[in-house]
């Protein structure tokens, strides 16, 4: 049941081995191992405070690992400064979206492409972002603060794709979004993965997450308690308990 990275298996795009993280007097992650193969969608699920966000923050370099290693495309990025990790090809769409509220939609998107200034790349990525979220094209010159919550979420995801990452990490992309829009966002996430980008997804909406993901990891109080193919996990009572506590009813 424990998630041990399969030794001897071919190297995955992202390989995390025995990662431990602590901050603010709190042990956030303990001995976490995880693999994400190129082009797949990996879901991280678990209750609030289980350590999902901490894991993403550790990968993107926002918090320092106390022990363990994070390897991306074969290279050790455990102690790399956050801004250089982005250059390596990892984009992180953080919890709470954190769009640049007073900047325009267009500026937000261009900031997403900060590490890649090739204008042809930018144009192409802009086009695919608009294809995924047509509303953004209409809102291009509006300040991000004037967007609705759902639009801000779309902007955040689109911004994450603008650097052309090989790994896109999404922290609760369905948060605060009208249910009607969720399928649209997930369709887009699948589209991104289909384009060859690996997606690491933290999600509270278990059905949405497991429906979209290839593999999934269940976290509880900083540890991986379960992992496997997403399809297999959907019906697992442990998942319901770990995350919802509703199965008991």
């Amino acid at each position: 049941m424990s998630a041990v990275a399969a030794r001897g298996a071919p190297p995955a795009l992202l390989e995390i081995d025995a990662l431990s993280v602590a901050y603010d007097g709190m042990r956030a992650l303990q001995d976490v191992s995880l693999r994400a193969e190129a082009g797949t969608i990996v879901a991280l699920i678990g209750a609030n405070g289980a350590g999902k966000t901490s894991l993403l923050r550790a990968i993107s370099g926002l918090v320092r690992a106390q022990a363990g290693t994070i390897r991306f495309d074969g290279d050790d990025i455990t102690r790399m400064p956050a801004h250089r990790i982005v250059k390596r090809g990892i984009a992180h769409v953080p919890e709470g979206r954190r769009v640049f509220a007073s900047a325009t939609v267009s500026d937000n998107l261009l900031l997403g492409a900060y590490v890649d200034r090739d204008s042809a790349h930018r144009t192409a990525r802009l086009e695919s972002a608009f294809a995924a979220f047509p509303i953004l094209r209409e809102r291009l010159e509006q300040r991000a603060s004037t967007l609705s919550g759902g639009e801000q979420q779309m902007l955040a995801i689109a911004r994450g794709t603008m650097s052309g990452p090989r790994l896109l990490m999404l922290d609760e992309p369905s948060l605060g979004i009208a249910p009607l829009l969720i399928p649209q966002i997930y369709a887009c996430i699948r589209g991104i993965a289909a384009g060859g980008t690996t997606v690491l997804l933290v999600e509270q909406n278990v059905h949405a997450a497991l429906g979209a993901a290839d593999t999934a990891y269940v976290l509880q109080t900083g540890r991986v308690v379960l992992h496997g193919a997403a399809r297999d996990l959907i019906g697992d009572p442990l998942v319901q308990e770990a995350f919802l506590g509703i199965s008991a009813v």
Binding site: S60, G61, L62, P81, A82, H83, R84, V86, K87, A91, H92, P94, R98, V99, F100, A101, S102, A103, D107, L110, L111, G112, Y114, V115, R117, R159, S163
Partner: protein
């Protein structure tokens, strides 16, 4: 005696024009300060001393035959480098401490730079020899100093350039991102330390340009920056810390209030309307005229 009304009107026009130009000069000095604040939340209390160094640099160039306007880019570049170095070796450290560390750290810098100027350049008042634009421009009954006019135009160009830089360039965009959300900016691949250093350098370069222009009409001495800096702090706070447009609007307002207050109230009370306006405005809008939050 019917002329009395006409004369009063002329005086008013003259004061208005004078206030406007004075305001532009304040904007010239304030704009670099507000940029630095906006990006990294630091009020650089040594801002006036940066200005003073720029004025000395301009003087030095003038003494070897390079006039203030030609020297301006050189001074701006020199101040830029100075700003970057100061950020890298000093300000960065302050940012890691408690909020009051930046306050007294930059105060220490103020004292240090004044002392250095005193020991290097003596306390004498010094002006550039034969500065250009010493004439007067007349628009009807209104007479304006050419030098102040050039300074005012410089202020507009500088404010405009800075605004355009921050709004429309890649780096400016990165600065805005850092200003708004350091973490999110990092996630865009922006090196926050580098952007901070750059912003501090550009803030210093603005002061460099301001210093070069001010040498058209002011002498330099070790405490020359202080007179401008105090007004600049009020301008920046009034406009909203971090807002470039806010600084321009506030500077014009301060210039107007100072000149009109000085005339219609009393010259010794000329700063009274300025400070009262500051208090009134921040009490109604705690974030300043065009500040956010």
């Amino acid at each position: 005696m019917a002329d009395a009304g006409v004369e009063a009107l002329t005086t008013f026009e003259q004061l208005l024009a004078g206030g406007l130009l004075a305001g532009l000069v304040f904007a010239l000095v304030a704009v670099g300060l507000t940029l630095v604040y906006g990006v990294m939340d630091v009020v650089n209390f040594a801002h006036g001393e940066f200005l003073m160094l720029a004025m000395y640099a301009t003087l030095g160039l003038a003494l070897v035959g390079i006039g203030p306007l030609v020297g301006l880019p050189l001074v701006a570049i020199a101040l830029f480098l100075f700003g970057v170095v100061i950020y890298r070796v000093f300000i960065r450290r302050l940012l890691a401490g408690p909020p009051e560390a930046t306050v007294f750290g930059t105060f220490g810098l103020l004292v240090l730079l004044q002392g250095l100027a005193q020991s290097l350049f003596t306390g004498d008042f010094q002006s550039v020899p034969h500065p250009p634009f010493q004439g007067t421009l007349r628009l009807g009954a209104v007479a304006l100093s050419q030098a102040t006019l050039v300074e005012g135009i410089g202020a507009l160009v500088l404010t405009g350039a800075l605004f355009a830089f921050v709004e429309y360039t890649e780096t400016g965009r990165a600065m805005r991102a850092v200003a708004e959300d350091r973490v999110a900016a990092t996630l865009m691949g922006i090196d926050v330390q580098r952007v901070n250093a750059l912003a501090f350098g550009i803030g210093a370069a603005c002061v460099g340009a301001a210093g070069a222009l001010l040498m058209l009409s002011f002498p330099v001495f070790p405490t020359a920056g202080a007179s401008f800096a105090l007004t600049a702090f009020v301008v920046v706070a009034l406009g909203g810390f971090g807002s470039i447009q806010g600084a321009l609007v506030a500077a014009l307002l301060v210039g107007m209030l100072e000149v009109l207050g000085g005339y219609y109230l009393a010259p010794e009370l000329k700063m009274v309307p300025v400070y009262v306006a500051y208090l009134a405005i921040v009490l109604l809008r705690p974030q300043g005229l065009l500040g956010r939050r």
